[in-house]
Structure formats: structure tokens, C-alpha cells
């Protein structure tokens, strides 16, 4: 039974059509970072084949507003080659793990001129057909407020104030009611005594 299953899976994997065997590369969509900080651009891939020893990663960079890409990183034959002449010389470091299908790079000390699109292309021979994936880098002086933070804060504060006011209102009513309640008990007691005295006189 087990051998039959193993055989069936091997046959099926062999029959799987070539198109679905394309390599799929994942990077982020957009990355925000502060000027002067470091950023890790991640790149990983999915492939139906086992990770081969000839796996290659390559990163290219296209500045914002430019049409040309420049190659800044290449990993092949088990060795990583980083940019030593271009805009990222001495700032680029390979922090990925090719055997784990991770081809991430680390860019240190970001500058405003690093704004642009980084494209990662990975190849896992014989699985080489695939689309490179791009991540856009945005370098800010200060990180902009995320969408919804101020909205949530304003709504939370106002609703919180509302709840507070309602609680205080009911608390005051409760406290005042207690004081009034204690007063009316003593009055009620006095009235009862007078009533019983009157009855006695009548009798």
C-alpha cells in the first residue's frame, strides 16, 4: 500500500505539466525605512524541485525616476558577490541562506538616493522559468503615521470620555440616592412615632 502511494506520487510529480513547475519568487511589496538605518530586503522562492547546488540569486536596483537597472548582488556556485563599484559599495551584505531558499540582503546606512525598486531573481536549475519579483524602497526622514492610528486614537478617546461621563453620572445619582435614602428613613421613623401617639390619645 505504501509503496503504491510512493510510486503514484513519483509518477504524478513526473506528469505535472511544465508550466506549473515555474519558480515563484517572493519579496515584499514596499518597504519603508528611516534615513541612516539598515534594511533587510527579503527574497525567497518556491520551486517544485529540490534546492539545487547551482541555485542563484541576483538583485538589481533601479533608482526612482530612472529607466536603467544596475546589478548589485549575485550569488552563484556557493559564493556571494556584492556590489563593490556601484551605489551600494561597502553597504551591502548577504544575510540569506540559499539552502533554505532565502536570498535576502542587508543594506546599511540608508540614504535618500536609495529610493527605488529592488528586483530579486532566483533560479533553481533546472527550474529556471519564473518572474522576478520587485520590492519598492521608500526612505523617509521620519516614519509617517500609519493609516488609522490617529483615527483610532480620536475615536477611542471620545468613546472613553463618553463612558466615563456616563459612569460618573450614574455614580453621582447612586451616591445622592443613598444620602437621600438615609435621610428619609429617620423622617419616616419620626412620623410613625407621632402617628402612634395620636392613636393612643384617641383611644
Amino acid at each position: 500500500m505504501l509503496t503504491f502511494l510512493a510510486l503514484a506520487s513519483v509518477v504524478l510529480l513526473g506528469i505535472v505539466p511544465e508550466q506549473s513547475q515555474a519558480i515563484v519568487i517572493y519579496t515584499g511589496w514596499e518597504r519603508h525605512a528611516l534615513v541612516g538605518s539598515d534594511i533587510r530586503l527579503s527574497c525567497s522562492f518556491f520551486s517544485w524541485r529540490w534546492t539545487s547546488e547551482d541555485v542563484t540569486f541576483s538583485w538589481t536596483y533601479r533608482p526612482d525616476g530612472s529607466r536603467d537597472s544596475i546589478s548589485i548582488f549575485h550569488y552563484t556556485g556557493g559564493a556571494a558577490y556584492v556590489d563593490n563599484k556601484g551605489p551600494f559599495r561597502d553597504r551591502l551584505e548577504f544575510v540569506g541562506n540559499p539552502s533554505r531558499r532565502d536570498g535576502s540582503i542587508l543594506i546599511k546606512n540608508l540614504e535618500f538616493s536609495d529610493n527605488g525598486t529592488f528586483t530579486c531573481d532566483a533560479k533553481n536549475p533546472p527550474d529556471i522559468v519564473g518572474r522576478p519579483s520587485s520590492v519598492r524602497l521608500l526612505v523617509f526622514e521620519k516614519v509617517p503615521i500609519q493609516a488609522g492610528v490617529i483615527t483610532g486614537a480620536i475615536i477611542g478617546v471620545v468613546l472613553g470620555l463618553l463612558v466615563l461621563i456616563v459612569v460618573i453620572y450614574y455614580l453621582m445619582r447612586f451616591l445622592v440616592a443613598r444620602r437621600v435614602f438615609s435621610l428619609s428613613v429617620s423622617k419616616h421613623g419620626k412620623k410613625k412615632k407621632e402617628g402612634s401617639q395620636q392613636r393612643q390619645i384617641k383611644v
Partner: protein
């Protein structure tokens, strides 16, 4: 008496619907093929209809918060009205309802004013959309409704 009650309730529901449409529709600024704020910025390019989230500047988030708050308070005032209708002492006034409704109208006013002052004036033919107009229409209606609730008394 029943007519007044029905009229006031219908007015309240109309205001609620206006606020919902104004808050939810992303059409505070329109211009040609573009329609932006409060939530999405949509454009009809030659490819099709593309939407991306609206800019997360501080003032847009403030307007979002104020519109949502006004919607919530209008809804609370509706619930308070229904509650007070059945539980209020005879001859009492609908204070809770009025307070919530007036607060809702204040929030709409603040939101609309902030948007008017801060909306970017590119000069590229960008006009105010229907959601913006609805917000300005909802504000006086909401105020009037709140004042009616102050004057209204439960039948003896």
C-alpha cells in the same frame, strides 16, 4: 401627536442614512476621472478602475474619526430615543437623545470644516464630491433634530 413622533423619527433616520453614505462613500473630492477621500483614492485610467488607499495624513485621519464618531453618536441617539420613548416619565424631555444628536452634529461640522480647510488645492479641476455635500447637508439637519428633541416632551 403620533404624526410629530413619526416625523421626528423619519428625520432621524434620514440623517443617519446621510451620515452613513457620506462616511462610507469615497467621494469627498472628485475631478474628471479621479475620486478620492476619505478611505480610497480611485482613478479610471486607460487600463481600468484602480483604487489605492487614501493618503494617511493627519487631517484625513481626523476627518475619518470625526465622521465615524458622528455616525456612532447619531446611532446612539436613535437608540436613546427609542429607549426614552418607552421609559421616560410623563412630561419628561428627551435630554439624552438631544445631547447625543447635538454632539453628532458638532462632529460632522468639525469634520467638514477640517476637510474644507485642509483639502489639497492642486488647481487641476478637483471639485468637492457628493459625499462632502451630504456631510454639509447632514450637519444642519442633525442640529435641528437635536433642538427638536430638547423641545419635545413626552405626552402626559
Amino acid at each position: 401627536m403620533l404624526l410629530i413622533l413619526l416625523g421626528v423619527l423619519i428625520l432621524h433616520l434620514i440623517i443617519l442614512i446621510l451620515l452613513i453614505v457620506s462616511t462610507a462613500a469615497s467621494a469627498w473630492s472628485v475631478g474628471g476621472d479621479r475620486s478620492t477621500d476619505l478611505w480610497y483614492s480611485c482613478m479610471t485610467t486607460n487600463g481600468g478602475y484602480h483604487c489605492k488607499p487614501a493618503s494617511n495624513e493627519d487631517w484625513i485621519q481626523a476627518v475619518q474619526a470625526l465622521m465615524i464618531l458622528s455616525l456612532l453618536f447619531c446611532f446612539f441617539s436613535l437608540i436613546a430615543f427609542l429607549y426614552q420613548l418607552f421609559r421616560l416619565v410623563k412630561g419628561g424631555r428627551f435630554f439624552f437623545t438631544a445631547i447625543f444628536q447635538i454632539l453628532a452634529s458638532l462632529f460632522v461640522m468639525c469634520g467638514a470644516i477640517i476637510y474644507t480647510v485642509m483639502c489639497p488645492d492642486d488647481g487641476s479641476g478637483v471639485q468637492f464630491g457628493y459625499a462632502y455635500v451630504l456631510a454639509w447637508v447632514a450637519f444642519p439637519l442633525c442640529l435641528i433634530s437635536g433642538l427638536i428633541y430638547i423641545v419635545l416632551r413626552k405626552k402626559e
